[in-house]
Amino acid sequence: MLSENNDPSRDDSWLADETAAAMREFAGTVTEAPPLRLAAGFSSAGARRSLLGTRRWWTWLAPVTAATAVTALAVGLVLIRSMPNGGVVPAAVGVVPTADSTPATASGAGPHGVPRYYLAIQQNFSKPTAGQPPVLTTHLVVGDSLTAKPVATFAPPAGVRFLDVTAAGDDRTFVAAGQVGSGASATIRLFEVRVEPGSSHPAQLTAMPVAPLLVGDGKSVDLVTDSFPVALSGSGTELAVAEFSKTGAMAVKVFSVATGSLLDQWTTTDPSLSLRGLSEAPTLSWIDGGRALALATLGAATKSGADNYTAWQTVRSLNVDGTMTGDLIADGSVLRDVQVGGAFGDSDACGYMLQWPPAVSADGKTFSCTTGAAFVTYPLAPGAVGTGPGKVDLRVGNNEFVINVLWANTTGDTLIATWGVQDSNTVASNPNTKDVQIDVISHGKATPLRFPQGFQPVFPGGVAW
């Protein structure tokens, strides 16, 4: 119900009094303080707990997730679309039989040499009504970076909330991971998106023939409900995922996109790679011409001193050789193992909090991330800590920025990144243009990419080129 104060003719001056009164009334709800704790070594565990373990969402977010889950229904095998050309798309799975060495921009390259087509997750919240939490829904957008126009939009299958997307090197094949259900019953379903420009159906989405995947123990679900790591091989024929069992242990699996059959898997019960041993979701990248995977993990933070925290940033390579099973720790080769950290909010950690996840180049030689206001590329070698070329500082004014690397080219010298001004509990898009700000970072320059009108900000894993 709208208030009479919505009357635009009213002067804003009444707001000063009402704001003061509202703040006094709200502040007055606190009538006592908890006991002071000055025990040696004490740190405000509460303030850190959301960082070290579970994430503290605003209280309305939990009901949002719950509401989404309640409405979850079984996922149909056929999908979905609201494509410009309309029409029902058959559920056939298209596989592009190109070699793993397919260059990143196989055809119709986009601006600045980046792939032309992208797949992005867009979010929508229903307007909250009195006493009712808003309901989160997601949909997919296939876009053309060259024309800035959308190619297709896909509504989600019933009950699915899209979490992560990934792209093959052919600029035509994508996969989206979506969560169904919540808590202990939550599972992940996979969907393939094929882009066929100029055809009567410029894009189609089909459910992949992969059995529902696990998303953890149903308790420590924040990590995986935020993200489900997926990586499509350059050829688009294999899909790697990082799955967490009901006990929180990690498994990296490789599936055939065409058949859904399991081709390779590595498991571990190492606590540092369990849900509770990680502070952020791991990421997967295909390297070495599609013959290996790079698994990047960021361990749970360890307190160091009064206000400083450190965590181990590790990249392991796993040879994809079809042996079907293996131990993730024993079989993996460590490419990078660096302790990162500093005070929370520091901008020099390159891999902590605001800076995760990184982008591993397909040649397996570089590791690119953000320092919060700049980009740094590291050589991917054990113990390497020196900064490499390609540092670009996007800081403007005195605003705080949040920057994320979204994509790296084969050699890591060209990145796509998003950035925005951090305003209280959100990250705004470019405050000057009010547009989503996603730039190509190359040779020390940042060049904005264009997106359709109404395109929302995207997060790492929420867009793929």
Binding site: S3, L15, A20, A22, T29, R55, R56, Q122, F125
Partner: protein, 186 residues
Amino acid sequence: MDTVDTDSYAPGRRHGPPGGDAAHAVTALYQAHALGMIRIALLMLGERGAAEDVVQDAFLGMYRRWQRINEPQKAEAYLRSAVFNGCRDALRRQSRRNRRDWVAAVDLGEPPSAEAVALMSEDRRRILAGLRLLPVRQREALVCRFYLELSEEETARVMNVSRGTVKSTTSRAVAALGRMFREGQC
């Protein structure tokens, strides 16, 4: 009213573990100021648990640095600065966690502590919801000016900006609140 540099260092003072005097002094300060500080943090963060955490951190920081604080008589100002700094850090971390929900942050008008505001008038509930959508510095300005009733000069010291910036920030904040209110965004 003055603020104290939270990193201030007094070369002539002893630098060692805080002792019983510090504990007594900080405990006394806590009894005198904790409630007020929690209320400030609540207005900044919108969640009581997080507000209490920030305030605990502020007092703990004071305790640890007690022997390095130049002017203990400015403890209240020190604490207030520490609380605002702590709130900024908490919001920064919150931003990281919520970045997947940018749309929500833009569209949502429901303050998180729904129970606490259940009995408020519709207008005030909406104002609090709008407050949560303001940039953190604008929120700080409103808390200082309208809740703490600090002067522009005092607010400038707390926020470590010029008086003119306080004026413009406050003005923008009120304008933004009014716009959100009229457009039904909060």
